[in-house]
C-alpha cells in the first residue's frame, strides 16, 4: 500500500472504498432484480446474471445492488430483469446475456430506458 501523503489523498481513497461498501449499507443508486425461480433459471437467468456482473465490472460501476428474487409469475417472459432507478422500476422480458449488457450500459449506468424490451413499468 502506498503512503497517504495528504488529507486530499485520504478523502480520495475514502470515496473509492465507499462504493465498495455500498452493498453492505443497503443503499445504492440503482437496484437490479433478477427472477431466479425454477423457470427463470431454466430460461437462462444465471447467464444473464453473470453477464450483468461482468458488464458492471468492466465499466467499474459500483453504486448498484443486485438482488435475486423468486418468480413473479410471468413465466412466459422469463428471464425477467427489473431495474429500479430514479424511483421507477422497469421490467425487461426474454433477456439474453447480450441484452443484459446493453441494459447495464444504457439504463443502469446512464439512466436511458431501453424501451424496445420493456414489458412493464411501475
Amino acid at each position: 500500500m502506498d503512503k497517504i501523503k495528504s488529507i486530499e489523498e485520504l478523502r480520495k481513497l475514502r470515496e473509492q472504498a465507499q462504493a465498495f461498501l455500498k452493498t453492505r449499507q443497503g443503499e445504492a443508486k440503482v437496484k437490479v432484480y433478477i427472477s431466479m425461480g425454477t423457470v427463470g433459471i431454466a430460461a437462462g437467468a444465471r447467464d444473464v446474471l453473470l453477464a450483468i456482473l461482468d458488464e458492471l465490472q468492466k465499466r467499474n460501476f459500483t453504486d448498484v445492488q443486485i438482488i435475486e428474487r423468486g418468480s413473479m409469475g410471468l413465466d412466459v417472459e422469463e428471464p425477467v430483469v427489473a431495474v429500479e432507478r430514479d424511483g421507477i422500476r422497469v421490467y425487461y422480458g426474454h433477456v439474453t446475456p447480450e441484452m443484459a449488457r446493453e441494459i447495464v450500459a444504457s439504463h443502469v449506468i446512464n439512466g436511458q430506458i431501453v424501451s424496445d424490451w420493456v414489458i412493464a413499468k411501475e
Partner: protein, 551 residues
Amino acid sequence: MKIYRIHALICAGAQCLAAGGNGFEDALKEELKKHDLTEEVNIVETGCMGSCQLGPLMVVYPEGVIYTKVKPDDAKEIVEEHFLKGRPVKRLLWKQEEKQFPTLNDVPFFAKQTKIVLRNCGIINPEDITEYIAQGGYEALAKAITEMTREDVIKVVKDSGLRGRGGAGFPTGLKWELAYKQNSDTKYIICNADEGDPGAYMDRSVLEGDPHSVLEGMAIAGYAVGAQKGYIYIRAEYPLAIKRLEIAIKQARASGLLGKNILGTNFSFDIELRMGAGAFVCGEETALINSIEGKRGEPRKKPPFPVEKGVFGKPTVINNVETLANIPVIIEKGASFFRKFGTEKSPGTKVFALAGKVNITGLVEVPLGTSLRTIVFDIGGGIPEGHTFKAAQTGGPSGGVIPAEHLDVPMDYENLPQLGTIMGSGGLIIMDETSCMVDVAKFFLKFTVDESCGKCTPCREGTRQMLNILEKITTGNGTMEDLDRLERLGNIIKLTSLCGLGQTAPNPVLSTLRYFRDEYIAHIKDKRCPSNVCSMKGEKNERKVLNRRLA
C-alpha cells in the same frame, strides 16, 4: 475494485469462533466453489456483532438477512437456496417469542441499540484498513492534525464531556489537558486493554472488530498532549485481538497513518504492543505502568499521578479502549453531536457485556442513562421462561448488585454509586431467584483474594479475612456478629487500600448486605440457603453446580 453482488459477513469474534464459526466458513467456501459462485460472493470476516449467544452469526447483504447458529451442514442449503435462487433459509433466521425477524434491522436486540463505539464492529473487515477508511476512518485524525490546534482538540474532547470508560469515569478532556500542560519533551499515550472483570469483553470486541478506531484515537490523543509514542497494554489471553492489532498497526504504518510525518505534517506518532500475563491488578494504571517498564506488576503510590510521572518517569495519559474508540467520532462530528446521547453529566453511550440469566446474552451499546429495565427486558429479551429477575451485578468484582426494586435506575456515573455499586467497565451479570446472593458475594471476593497483589496489608489480609467469614456463613457456622464484622472490615479496606483493586474489593459484600441482608440472616439463624445453593453442613444439593456456572 471488484464488484460482488452478495456480501456475506461472518462474525469472527472469539465467541462465534468458539461456537464453530470457522468450520462453517470453510464449508461455505467449499459450497461456493462447487457452484462457481466465488466471483460473485464476497465473504468477510467481521468482529463481534453482539448477540453472542446465537452465534455463529452471518449477515447477508444487500438484503441484510441475519442467520443464527449456523453449522457447517447449513452451508449447502444457504448457497443453493439463498445465494443461487434468492430465497433466504427461513429455519435459520432470528427467532424470538415465536416471531421471525428476517433482517438485521427488524431484530429488537439490534434496533434498540445506539452504536457509536461499536459503529464498525460486525460491518467491516477488521483486517482491511481500506474498509475502515471507507467508513470515514482516519478522517478525524487528518482533521485534527491539519485543521486544528492541539488546544482545539483538547477543548472539543472537554466540551464533549466524555468520561473514562474503564470504570472510574474521570473526564478524558481534563486528563489530556493535565498531560498537555506538563513540560517534557517525551510523553506517552497508553491504551489500557487489560480487561479483567469476569464476564466482561467489551474492549476485546472493539479491538477484534475495529482495531483502527483505537489506533486513531491514540494518535489523536498523542497529537493533543504532545506525545510521540503509544503503548497498547493487552492481555496475552486475547490472541485474536493481538493478531488483528498487529495487522492494523502494520497497515496503518504502511499507509503513513502511523509513524513519521503523518499525512505529510510534522506530527509523528507510533504505537507498540505490550502483552500482560493476565494479572487482574495490572489493569490498575500504576501497576500497568510498572508492568510495561518490565517491573513487577504492583501499584505505585499516587500522587504523583501518571499524567505527571508515568511510564519511564514521563508524563503519560492512560485511556481505556472504549474511551479511545469514542475519540474519532467526537473529533469528526463535534462535541454537540456526542452530547445528543446520554445524560447531561454522562454524555455518550456505554457498551455492556450482558451475561447470566437473560435470554439474549451478548454486547449491547446504549446511551448512558438508559434504564436497567430497558437493557434487560427490551434488548436482552427478558429472563428465561419461568424465572424472575432478582438482581444485576455491575462493575464485576469491584461493583455491587442492583436489586429488582431499582430496575428503573438510569445506568450512568451518578446514579449507580448512590445504589452502592459502580459503573465499572461494563460487565452486567443478570441473576434470577436461583442465585444465592451470599454465594455471589463469595465468588467475587474469592476472585479479588486470588488477584490481590499483596503489596498493601488491608487488601492482602483484609479480603482474606472477609472471605473466611463468608465461608463460615455459607457452611452454616456464622453468627450475627459476623455481619457487623464484615461491614466494619469492608469499610476499613475501602479506606486504607493502596489501589483501586482493594478500594473496591469489599463492594460485592457490602452491597449484598445492603439489599439482601435477609439472605445472610437465613444462612446464620435458620442455617438455610433460601436459593438452595450453599450446602449447609455438608448437605448436598444438585442445583449447586448449575448455579455456580452462572457466577
